[in-house]
Structures are given as C-alpha cells and as structure tokens.
C-alpha cells in the first residue's frame, strides 16, 4: 500500500498535502480563536480590552470581572437555578425517552408501527410556537421551571436512535432473564439499561447541553425575571453592545466590557467540560443511525 502510494505521489499531490495541512490548521484555529479571545478578555483589565484590538494573552492579568459577577446575587442565583434545572431536566427527559424507546424496540408490540409513524410525523410537522405556548399556559406551567423541561422532554431523533440501539441488543439476554422469572420492568432495569450505559450517557449529555443552552423556552415561558436562567442573564448583560444609544436603557449604565467577557466564559465552561465525554461517543456513528430511521 505505502509503495503504491509513493509511486503515484505526484509533485502536485504533495503540494496539495502541504496546502491541505496548512488550510485545515487554519480552520481548526478559527474554530477556537474567538473563544480564546473572549477568555483572554475576561482576564484582562478594562483598559486593555478597550485599547488592544486583539490579544490572546493579557499584559496584565486580573480576575476583577469574575469577582464582580460572582458578587452579584442575580447572577449567582441564575447560575444555581440553571444547574438545578439542567440536572433535573436531564433525568426527566432521558428517563421518559428511554422508557418509551424500550417497548418500541419490541418488534411484536401491538400498535408499534402506529406510534412510530406518529413520532416521525412530529419530526416533519409541528403546530408551532403559539399553540405550544397556549398548551403550556393551559397546563399552568407558565413561570415554572417545568416549562423549561417538559415541552422538550422527548426528542424524536434521540428516541429513535435509542430504540434502534435497544433493538440490536441480543434477544437471548432478555429471554434468559424472563425464564428466570423477571418481568419487563426488571429486564429493562437489570439487563437492558446496564448494557446501554454509554448510549444513555451520550444522550444525557445532549439533553443537558440542550437545556443549558436553551434560550427560547425561558424567553417564552418565564416572565418572572427572578426565575431567569443563565442564558437570559447573559443576553441581558451582552445585548447592550449591539444596540444603539436610542435602544439602550438609559437608567441602567451598560455593564463594563470585562463583565461581558467573563459572563460568556461562565456560560460556556460547563458545556466545554461535558464536551470530551460527548465527543468520545458521538463520533462512533451513533448519530448516523438517525438519518435513515
């Protein structure tokens, strides 16, 4: 293989290889440079941010921006709230999804095809923002944290991928457990779920990132500002930069630049911490099953 490769490695081919390495290195850097700049800015002084156009290493390090944010009750409360909602929400969403995926993985379940067809239908057609809002309102969920969790509880794509995963597990495992007298619930809990840990962990992280990053749900369902999540606060803090003077609230001074940088970092760090675990699994082709489901 290597000799044939060498024989046909033309000069143009080698030039392309060099160019390709250079281009892709550039692309990789572009993907994280904006974030690294914000990180550097969050640790820099106000003066440095406003006078140096671009830097990845502050001349003078300071944690003043972080100290200022962490001393704000509003911010600390929003952070704690978001952590709690994400944690509970992930458990609820993953639980509902796995519980529904398991019966649907049984080829002989009556009504299975109908349910799957309905699930697929919801992927191509949705009633839209307003009717969903009215349902949440009618259920009395407005201004409750459940409004951030329940309306998005089961992602149809995730449901179908988890179902497909359950379906390809060897049936013998389940049958031998049943011969030992286990009921479906016990089979699920003691046989299926332990075998599915990596898949479930991956989707738990996807759900968690989804809740953490969600802006639309709190925007729609939480009018009580004391209940706002981190993304809402982040928006509040950084929006001032994009608005012209006439749109800025005049009674509130715009937050200092450094604070904006630091808030972005704090809102991102948890996702970045989850990323290595996510990456370990998603690349293995589990998501690929979603295209033809």
């Amino acid at each position: 293989m290597s000799t044939t490769h060498k024989r046909f490695n033309t000069r143009a081919g080698r030039a392309f290889d060099v160019l390709n390495v250079a281009m892709l290195t550039g692309v990789g850097l572009l993907a994280i440079l904006p974030f690294l700049y914000v990180l550097a800015g969050s640790l820099a002084t106000e003066l440095e941010i406003t006078t140096r156009p671009f830097f990845l290493w502050p001349n003078e390090f300071t944690t003043a921006s972080y100290a200022s944010i962490l001393s704000s009750d509003v911010f600390v409360r929003a952070f704690a709230t978001t952590v709690a909602v994400t944690f509970v929400g992930t458990l609820v969403q993953l639980g509902l999804t796995a519980l529904m995926a398991y019966p649907l993985a049984k080829p002989d379940l009556p009504g299975r095809r109908t349910v799957l067809a309905l699930v697929v239908f919801t992927m191509v057609f949705s009633a839209g923002m307003i009717p969903t809002f009215l349902v949440v309102k009618d259920l009395g969920l407005l201004d409750t944290y459940w409004a951030l969790i329940l309306p998005l509880a089961i992602n149809p794509f995730s449901l179908i991928i988890i179902k497909n995963f359950f379906q390809q597990l060897p049936r013998e495992l389940e049958e031998s457990a049943k011969i030992d007298g286990a009921n479906e619930l016990q089979v699920l809990w003691h046989v299926i779920l332990p075998l599915s840990k990596p898949v479930l962990a991956t989707f738990a992280l996807f759900y968690a990132v989804g809740i953490w990053n969600d802006y639309l749900s709190p925007l729609l369902y939480l009018s009580d500002t004391s209940k706002w999540t981190l993304q809402m606060i982040l928006r509040q803090v950084t929006a001032a930069a994009s608005l012209s003077a006439d749109e800025m609230a005049t009674d509130v001074p715009p937050p200092a630049q450094g604070i904006k940088f630091a808030v972005v970092i704090i809102a991102t760090i948890p996702v970045l911490l989850a990323y290595p675990f996510l990456q370990k699994h998603f690349a293995k082709g589990m998501l690929i099953g979603s295209v033809k489901g």
Binding site: A31, V124, L134, Q279
Partner: protein
C-alpha cells in the same frame, strides 16, 4: 406472571369476536410494556399533538376568555390577512435569503471541509482539527451572538477593527442592515460547518479501501479518485441532507435571528419565525400568528415530501 403465561397458552382467535379477544389478550400480555410507554405517549399527546388540535384557532378569532370553542369561526381570514399583508413579501425574501445562504454557501462548505479532512493523511492533525471544529456546535446561540457582539464591538472589537480597515467604514456593524446577513452567515458557518462534517466522514469511513487501491493501479490521480470514488460515495448522504434542508427552508431557526435582530436592522432581520413571536407573544395576536406558523409548517411539509419524491424520481434514495 402466571396470567401472562396463561394468556400465552390460549389458542389465538379461538372463538367469539376475534378483534376484541385479541385486544384483551394483548393488553394482558403486553401490560408492562404499555405501562412503560405510557408517560411517553402522554408526552406526545400533550406537547406534540394537543398543540396541533389547538392550532384550529388559526381559523377562529381566538379570545382566551371565550375559550377556543367559544371563539368565532373566521375560516381562512387570518391566512388571507397574512398573505396580503405588506410585510409578507419582505418576510418571505428575508427568510429565503437566509435559507439560500445556508443551502448554497454553508452546506457546500461543509462538504468541502469533509473532503479536505478525508484527504488529510496526518491522522493526529485530522483528529485534532475534528475535535476543534465540533466545539462551536455545542455553544448556545446566546453565547455565539454575545461573542459576535464582543468581536464586532464598535471601535474596540477585533473583527470590527479588521473589517473597518478592510472596507474603510466606521459603521456599527451589529446594527447596520447591510451587515446583518454577512454576520448571520459567518455565525452559521462558524457554529455548524465542523459539526456537519461528521455525517460525511462517517459515510466516507464505510468506503471500501480496495476501490482506491484498484484506482491507483489503474493510474487514477488524486483528484480522479476524489471525483470518481469519494464524491459518489457521499452522494446519497448529500441527497438525504438536501431533502431535510429543503423541508426546513422556512425555518431559519428562531434563536439566532431573534438574538441578532434589533430596532435598526429589522428590515432585513424579520423572518417568519421571529414574526410569529412578535405578533403572537408580544402583541397577543394568537390566532393570526398561529395561522402564520401553520402556513410555514404546511409549506415545509409539502417541500419535504416534494423533494423526497423528486429524489426518488432521479433514482436517489429518499428518506421515506
């Protein structure tokens, strides 16, 4: 357990009205499975199908106090009002322009990036670049828009400085209608180009390596191998994604556009998704905005089935 076993032994459809007996037997045999599925079914009924039923307010003058059934039936009046609204052409153009940017620029870039990654022989670099380019996908739109605001902050932002020098302008790019689409495109490309390559790289990983070896022996050059082996092998993936994309043409994604729009760039920033929000949530025109949303959903449904049908006619795999 004993009842389930007894039910198993029962001869199927022995006597009586078969359907009812079978139903009763299934209900017993599958009771645990039905029980496990129940919360999920309730979820779909409540949050996915009940809104579809509630969407009939699009044909009424819904007044919350009177309830949906008590509200007056107006037929297609809201749809007509929307289609003849002077805002409609502007919304349609804005929506289609953003869809075009995504389909004609961001999507091909994804394919190009996947092909370049596939050609990379340095495996360590390939893995590193992949790790890096997937990251932005996991950042929220709030974070992406906030980072944009910092990078393009007038007078101080690094990208503001760069582009201001490049084009000799001192515009506030974040509020300038001319800059709205370029900024939105940059964000789309930055956030999801890398992530989009996963599916192509997976398709490419499945390509039989012997094909390449045979091509090399036949004297095929680098580009010929890409042209005749690599690209055809991702063509089915491209078709499927095109179908899915087409169905989403009117869905610009709410969060990005909403977060990027402000009072100064609304002429180009308003799209169907944000319009539904402003009309429905902010102004309380529930029936009208539901009609707009329904119009969008139905067009999307027609588009997705239409492209699927077309793909099959041209002997490509469809998604249904």
């Amino acid at each position: 357990m004993t009842t389930a076993l007894a039910a198993d032994r029962e001869p199927p459809l022995a006597r009586g009205p078969g359907r009812l007996r079978r139903l009763r037997r299934d209900a017993v045999r599958y009771r645990w499975l039905f029980l496990l599925m129940l919360p999920g079914l309730v979820y779909f009924a409540l949050f996915r199908f009940w809104p579809m039923y509630g969407a009939r307010i699009a044909f009424k003058n819904y007044i919350p106090f009177l309830g949906i059934d008590g509200s007056e039936w107006v037929g297609f009046a809201h749809f007509q009002a929307f289609l003849s609204n002077p805002d409609f052409p502007r919304l349609l153009v804005n929506t289609l322009v953003i869809a075009a940017l995504s389909l004609l620029i961001a999507f091909p870039l994804t394919i190009v990036l996947a092909l370049l990654l596939n050609e990379l022989r340095l495996q360590i670099l390939k893995r590193t670049v992949q790790t890096l380019v997937y990251i932005p996908h996991f950042l929220s739109w709030t974070v992406v828009v906030s980072i944009t605001a910092l990078l393009f902050a007038i007078d101080t932002g690094p990208l503001w400085t760069f582009f201001a020098g490049l084009f000799g302008t001192d515009a506030n790019m974040l509020a300038d209608p001319d800059w709205f689409r370029p900024l939105v495109l940059m964000q789309m490309v930055w956030k999801d180009t890398g992530w989009g390559t996963i599916i192509f790289l997976a398709a490419l990983a499945g390509v039989d390596q012997e094909q390449y070896e045979a091509a090399i022996i036949d004297g095929a050059g680098r580009w010929q191998r890409v042209r005749h082996i690599t690209i055809p092998s991702i063509l089915p993936t491209i078709t499927v994604l095109l179908i899915l994309h087409t169905g989403q043409i009117l869905n610009t994604g709410f969060e990005q556009i909403y977060l990027m729009s402000n009072s100064l760039n609304r002429t180009v920033a308003d799209v169907f998704d944000t319009y539904v929000y402003f009309a429905g949530i902010e102004q309380g025109a529930y029936s009208y905005s539901t009609a707009v949303g329904l119009f969008k959903a139905i067009v999307g449904l027609v588009l997705i089935f239409g492209t699927n049908w077309l793909a099959k006619r041209f002997n490509q795999q469809g998604i249904f």
